[in-house]
């Protein structure tokens, strides 16, 4: 394995001072790093808190482009090896802040990116939110969510079951990262996805050297029929 530590980015839409969402993602991140370390793979994690970016995110939704701070955050996310995405549940759904952030991402930013989906809520009634709302969202982004999602209520912090779910999800993420399958999918199948020239994705085409000139449309651009 490479000696550069794997880079995990935690996207957290928790906003309160003692955010239980952040508490949950800290646990998941630590467990994932532990699982990787046990396998001899160094990893680091950093947190992308959406709260401080809330105004930038709202502006980007309206203007159609991210400001400098938000753009830096998006670039950081696009460069991550693995992602832990977590949102509080508000009014029976994911937080609007989280969804708005997802709305301003390039469609190809997270292609084949291994992701743990997590949410926190006030009661067990909303336990399906990660699977019913986050999973379709990340499917649209062509990301690769691990099989186990994590949902936590206040009561769960007294339950060993939460620790087991965290461990399971972390193990799944660690195995996906160790296999390198996400990176390999993105490397080999990249041309098959829809892209935006000069977008934010790590592999985005940025110059003539990156562009495929053999497509039907490129041939048409160079005067030829299809």
């Amino acid at each position: 394995m490479s000696t550069t530590p794997l880079d995990l980015v935690v996207v957290s839409a928790g906003v309160s001072e003692q955010s239980s969402t952040r508490l949950l993602t800290d646990r998941i991140a630590q467990k994932t790093i532990d699982a990787l370390r046990d396998a001899g793979v160094p990893a680091t994690a950093s947190v992308l808190d959406l709260g401080p970016l809330a105004v930038d995110i709202a502006r980007a939704v309206v203007s159609g482009f991210p400001g400098e701070d938000l753009k830096r955050a998006i670039t950081r996310l696009g460069a991550a090896d693995g992602v832990i995405a977590a949102t509080p549940v508000y009014k029976a759904g994911i937080s609007g802040l989280f969804k708005s952030f997802a709305d301003v991402l390039d469609n190809d930013l997270l292609v084949a990116k291994p992701v743990i989906l997590a949410a926190t809520g006030g009661s067990a009634r909303h336990a399906m939110v990660p699977d019913e709302q986050l999973r379709p969202l990340f499917a649209f982004l062509r990301a690769m969510p691990v099989p186990t999602s994590v949902y936590a209520t206040p009561e769960d912090w007294g339950s060993p079951d939460l620790g087991k779910r965290i461990a399971r999800a972390s193990t799944e993420l660690a195995l996906l990262l160790r296999s390198g399958v996400g990176r390999e999918i993105a490397d080999t199948a990249w041309d098959g996805y829809q892209h935006q020239f000069s977008g934010n994705a790590t592999r985005a085409e940025r110059s003539a050297a990156d562009v495929d000139f053999t497509t039907d449309l490129m041939r048409l651009a160079a005067g030829g029929g299809r």
Partner: protein, 395 residues
């Protein structure tokens, strides 16, 4: 270097007075704005085709034909002509006619536009947008260069033995710019033909369009039209000018903050993060010079300055300030910065010289009506006899 203004002919309530111009007022005001641009020595007036309220330019050739009759020197252009939903044959005819009436003071910017329902309104599919733009331009290019065209494509009914009339003025087609903000295929087409490439340079971060401009430059060189730094690049921009900086900001603020596209934005942030220039003539000059620093030497700079519900008196004053206080300084400064060998944007005169040198330009004279309202396979008296066209049988 050419300087001018481009407009989408939007109608918006004036947030200061609450008044909305009627379509009749906006149309005649746009004509006044174009006339003023001509009077103050600007080089280009361009109008962007739209097909729905609150925009008035559904028929740019009609509007520009009228303006051509009222102006002396200014080059008329479009920003953009929809290359997707218009029939390229009609574009060839309309703009060749306009080119004659404007005595060559015409070029054309083609593109895809930004209004999704226009596609279904004109019976097209938005998913075909890029293909339509590319294929239709390929046909337009032939129609303006070959007296007789046989053609078959994916989107339009085939043509056999078709002649687009009138032939372009002096048999020299209007220069074409391709406008695009995200599509490398469009930049590739501009490069392939050696045409101009225009990035609107509005509603996006500073230098957001640099990768596409650089792509076009590289491909222009690749196709052998010249060095990358000789490629024909145009940029847009948005400006509001007042003698004193603080007056510019305070006058412009209500128009900016109440316009749908900018709601929720802070004017100062937008001025910092995007190409929008609001301030004294010197501030507009300084910011525009950064475009040259970022994008390299370029050939055409157009500003949007008549929209957002500005009263016509203010828009006219803007055009005047641009023409008298800003552009003369920019002309001098940009000329002094320009690398050797970087060309100006082509004009009708320069294209005629390039094609004919000192010789007389071709003036096509049609052959007579055969009796079936056609003039035969060689439509012009001087048509190359080797050009053979296949006519379908006339039933």
């Amino acid at each position: 270097m050419q300087f001018g203004i481009f407009s989408v002919g939007d109608v918006a309530p004036d947030p200061v007075t609450g008044r909305t111009q009627s379509e009749a007022e906006r149309i005649s005001n746009l004509v006044r704005i174009a006339q003023r641009a001509d009077e103050v020595g600007l080089d280009v007036f361009a109008i962007g085709e739209h097909h729905n309220p609150p925009f008035i330019p559904s028929s740019p050739p009609t509007l520009l034909g009228h303006i051509a009759a009222l102006t002396k020197n200014i080059v008329l252009s479009t920003s953009v002509t929809l290359m997707t939903t218009n029939d390229p044959v009609k574009i060839a005819e309309d703009y060749a006619m306009l080119q004659h009436l404007a005595k060559g003071r015409l070029d054309l910017m083609v593109g895809r536009g930004n209004t999704a329902p226009v596609y279904p309104w004109f019976g097209k599919k938005i998913r075909d947008g890029v293909g339509l733009a590319l294929e239709n331009y390929n046909l337009l290019h032939q129609l303006w260069r070959n007296d007789v065209v046989d053609w078959e494509g994916q989107y339009r009914t085939p043509l056999q033995g078709f002649t687009a009339t009138p032939r372009p003025l002096d048999d020299v087609p209007p220069f074409v710019w391709h406008g695009s903000i995200r599509t490398p295929e469009i930049a590739e087409q501009a490069a392939y033909y050696g045409n101009g490439y225009f990035a609107n340079n509005v509603l996006a971060p500073n230098f957001h369009f640099k990768p596409l401009v650089d792509f076009y430059r590289q491909r222009f060189e690749h196709y052998g039209h010249g060095r990358a730094d000789q490629a024909i690049v145009g940029l847009g921009g948005q400006a509001f000018i007042a003698k004193r900086s603080q007056d510019a900001v305070s006058t412009f603020r209500p128009y900016f903050e109440n316009y749908a596209l900018f709601r929720g934005m802070k004017l100062e942030d937008y001025m910092r993060d995007t190409p929008l220039s609001v301030g004294s003539p010197q501030e507009i000059i300084d910011k525009t010079l950064t475009f040259q620093e970022g994008f390299g030497d370029y050939q055409r700079q157009l500003f949007a300055m008549d929209g957002l519900g500005l009263p016509v008196e203010v828009a006219l004053e803007q055009v005047e300030l641009l023409g008298t206080e800003v552009v003369p300084v920019l002309r001098k400064e940009l000329a002094s910065r320009r690398a050797p060998g970087v060309p100006d944007a082509p004009t009708h005169a320069s294209l005629v010289t390039a094609k004919y040198g000192d010789a007389e330009p071709r003036q096509p004279r049609p052959n007579p009506n055969r009796g079936d309202n056609l003039s035969g396979a060689s439509p012009y008296q001087d048509t190359d006899a080797d050009v053979q066209a296949h006519f379908p049988a006339v039933v």
